[in-house]
């Protein structure tokens, strides 16, 4: 099944929209990384800040979804151009990777906020 050009255009758009979301998320995340590293990287210290933190959960939930759109589409382009992987089978792999990122990412968010 070959993708229509209109679908390919929409995928490009999704990749750029997710990029815009990620631009904001990554700036915040870089700040969080530096702050957390300075404050001490022990499980106790980390989890004390994240457990029950709804804002944290919502923010990182959105971040995970944006990553799940953006990363597989990027890898798809690289694989097409440098490994010559293309077509329905390759697209199925990237779609699966996207779902895997959603599942493992949400699991990670849950792990540090709710478990």
């Amino acid at each position: 099944m070959t993708m229509t050009r209109a679908t390919q255009a929409k995928l490009w758009y999704a990749q750029r929209l997710s990029a815009m979301v990620l631009a904001g998320c990554v700036i915040v995340h870089l700040g969080v990384i530096v702050y957390a590293t300075r404050s001490g990287l022990s499980a106790g210290a980390l989890l004390a800040r994240t457990r029950g933190n709804v804002a944290f959960a919502v923010f990182y939930g959105v971040f995970v979804l944006a990553c799940a759109v953006h990363a597989p589409l990027g890898l798809r382009a690289v694989a097409h151009e440098w490994l010559h992987w293309r077509g329905g089978a390759a697209d199925a792999v990237w779609a699966t990777f996207a779902l895997a990122l959603v599942a493992t990412g949400m699991r990670a968010v849950y792990a540090v906020t709710a478990s």
Partner: protein, 118 residues
Amino acid sequence: MSASFAIRARSHPAWWAFAVHRVSGVLLALFLPLHFWALAQALDGAAALDAFLRFAERPWVRLAEWGLVVLLALHLTGGVRLLLIEFGPWRGLRKDWIAMTAGAGVVAGLAYALALTR
């Protein structure tokens, strides 16, 4: 065409920006599942997460983490440049943003290195 000419033909800033953006993107994308797995250790309790964090104190892991922080800053800033080119008014290949991308990588690298030494 010899290899040196192949490199010479691509020796212009926008091409380097492309190369950095692609390599950083691939490495970050491959890292993501690892990152999610590591954080999910908290599902087995704080002790499980601590075990991972202790592993992460090894010098080579710290170095890899530092590299990823730099790659993230490079990919972010380079990505904003692309969004400006694709969605903003045409102002050329935005080589000022290429310089800012390098700068952002340096800033992020320094900030993280300093944070690690606290």
